[in-house]
């Protein structure tokens, strides 16, 4: 995927994985970088493992349009079951994907079927598959950092913002009290805080996960004709 001025993203995952939180942090990252973003969280029912979608528009220019992203350039899939079990509001998972676009899937196995590959090849898409949950466990010791791994991979590949912009946004999210995504999410945050004792620890671990995905992203050659790139974690 060539670099663009504007990315319209769809993030599909399951309740509890930090889909909406990612959207908010991505928005703050863009703001910190002096760029523009708009977010549309589509919660669905707020419960663990239920389908959740959020939409983010990120741009170097002001954004006028509103509403859900129906035709994304980038799709982030936070859970293999979004693909394999159809746990999503958009089925199949690549519905609406634009030509020359990017899909990042959190999975431990190759979840793409033969017919998926035909469509994605026709769209000249690039699919990155890696086990973001395993990476989060390995580095941060909690699967709750999965969203950091996914966001790190996205920002590492698109180079939308710098690591400083990200750190500032993550710091705002976990150390500031500027917003609450939902009551459930706030409770989850305080559970994470207890687990890490200190918030600074949490921040450092999150940043470590992000840095690690940045290194993985640097090793990706976006100009190859390979449709699928699979990482071992």
């Amino acid at each position: 995927m060539a670099e663009k001025k504007r990315y319209n993203m769809r993030i599909s995952g399951l309740g509890g994985q930090g889909v909406v939180t990612t959207a908010h942090i991505l928005g703050s990252c863009m703001d910190n970088a002096g760029k523009y973003a708009s977010l549309v969280p589509f919660f669905g029912s707020e419960k663990r493992m239920a389908p959740v979608e959020a939409y983010v528009r990120a741009s170097t220019d002001p954004i006028y349009e509103v509403g859900e992203v129906v035709y994304p350039d980038i799709i982030l899939i936070y859970h293999a079951q979004v693909v394999t079990h159809g746990k999503s509001y958009t089925m199949p998972f690549y519905t609406g994907l634009k030509p020359d676009s990017l899909v990042i899937i959190n999975t431990s196995t190759d979840v793409l079927e033969e017919e998926d590959l035909i469509v994605l090849k026709d769209l000249n898409a690039k699919v990155i598959q890696f086990d973001a949950t395993a990476l989060a466990m390995k580095i941060a010791g909690t699967e709750l950092a999965t969203n950091m791994a996914m966001m790190g991979m996205l920002l590492g590949l698109t180079k939308l913002v710098t690591e400083d912009d990200i750190e500032k946004a993550v710091r705002e999210r976990f150390l500031g009290n500027s917003f609450v995504a939902s009551g459930g999410t706030a409770a989850l945050d305080s559970a994470i805080e207890k687990k890490f004792k200190k918030k600074e620890d949490l921040l450092a671990k999150n940043m470590e996960v992000i840095n690690s995905t940045f290194e993985m992203a640097d090793s990706v050659d976006m100009t190859t004709d390979d449709l699928v790139i699979q990482f071992k974690v």
């Binding site: 708009s38 006028y64 349009e65 509103v66």
Partner: protein, 394 residues
């Protein structure tokens, strides 16, 4: 001491031109619902009456806060919308400035009273936060309900975003109360897309407020409730002969629609005119109002980046409709694309009726039920109109 005692505020009254055009402004990042209530806060509103319905409830909740802070004299929740809108008409006879808002089914429930406001010369401001009105039930921002207001005699403005919602609402109070207008003004915008989403809004200090309503200067005198004019009821046109009834009604309604047309000069004065035109020399125009204009603005930008001959016409005023302005702006156009958030295409029909060559109008794209209007659908019509190859793969 009563718990309802409100703080006394020391606000500076200024005229609408200073308030809208000269007063220094600061940028805020707020929702459309906040933008509407912030406008109400600066409008010296005497009384607000409403009945809650999603997505309007966000606006009227915030207006309730504005009341509690002391910016509004009276505020109450009516029994339902017909009661709300009837109470607005009644309160108006006492000679006060009024605000209410509603959405979709609430608007239709109150419509019997609302369509009587222009004839009764009620200069109230009505916020319309659009919502699906037809079955299956939905709370999403389809704007079909606006078609019902278009033929009521009211002035109808359609806001694209949070900034428009703020500016249009403030201007609406001034326009409604002009002696040569003196009919209600509706400010419509899409629910959720605008009311519940944040955008940048430049606002003047809340220490400033619009000059208070002056019932003595009003062309329709306030009712003297010490000596109520009982003859108003006894001499109702319906109780005269049929011919008197026809005559009174016809001259009366002609005057209402003349008043509606006379609002146009104030739409120029306060809002810069009923339409905004970008790239006036273009071959193809996207013509849109409200939230669809935001999607159209995005499509226009993409088209500019691709070097396509595409312009944008944003329609701010649906009533009075800018017939001549649209005719002039599209005189050399080869195609007009009209994206809308409703199934009937009311803007499309208005534009077709306004221009001599209605065949150039592309009827759509339209989305219904309040779904998102993807910019890609507008781009597809642009490519098709210009005969340009594309790789959209929609």
């Amino acid at each position: 001491m009563s718990p309802n005692v409100k703080p006394k505020l020391n606000k500076k009254q200024v005229d609408i031109n200073y308030l809208l055009k000269e007063a220094p402004r600061e940028q805020h990042f707020i929702t459309g619902a906040q933008a509407m209530s912030e406008a109400v806060k600066r409008a010296s509103v005497d009384m607000a009456i409403a009945y809650p319905i999603t997505p309007q409830s966000e606006v009227m909740h915030l207006v309730g806060n504005v009341y509690a802070e002391g910016h509004i004299k009276e505020y109450y929740r009516a029994e339902e919308e017909l009661g709300t809108m009837s109470a607005i008409a009644g309160a108006s006879r006492a000679g006060v400035r009024l605000f209410t808002a509603t959405s979709g089914p609430g608007l239709l429930r109150g419509l019997e009273a609302i369509v009587s406001w222009p004839g009764h010369r009620v200069p109230a401001v009505l916020g319309v936060l659009t919502r699906v009105i037809n079955a299956p039930l939905s709370i999403q921002p389809d704007n079909l309900e606006m078609a019902y207001i278009m033929h009521s005699g009211m002035v109808l403005l359609h806001a694209e975003n949070q900034q428009d919602t703020f500016d249009f609402t403030l201007a609406a109070f001034a326009i409604a109360e002009k002696v040569d207008v003196y009919i209600p003004v509706a400010v419509a915008t899409e629910g959720f897309f605008v009311t519940h989403a944040k955008g940048y809004v430049d606002m003047m200090s809340e220490d400033l407020t619009l000059t208070e309503f002056d019932p003595v200067a009003a062309p329709v005198p306030a009712m003297d409730n010490e000596t109520p004019p009982a003859r108003i009821q006894r001499d109702a046109p319906v109780q005269k002969s049929n011919f008197m009834s026809y005559l009174i009604h016809s001259v009366w309604q002609q005057e209402i629609w003349d008043s509606n047309r006379r609002a146009m000069k104030y739409i120029y004065e306060y809002l810069g005119g009923p339409i905004e035109v970008q790239n006036p020399e273009a071959d193809v125009f996207v013509v849109a109002s409200g939230c669809a204009a935001a999607q159209a603005r995005e499509a226009h930008r993409y088209a500019q980046e691709e070097g396509l001959s595409v312009g944008l016409i944003k329609v701010r005023a649906i009533r009075p409709f800018p017939t001549q302005e649209i005719r002039d702006a599209t005189a050399n156009a080869k195609a007009l694309i009209i994206p809308e958030h409703n199934i009937i295409g009311w803007l499309c029909k208005e534009v077709q009726a306004a221009i001599p060559n209605g065949g150039i109008v592309v009827e759509g794209p339209r989305v219904y039920g309040g779904m998102t209007l993807p910019v890609e659908l507008i781009m597809k019509e642009i490519y098709d109109s210009l005969g340009v190859e594309n790789n959209l793969k929609l």
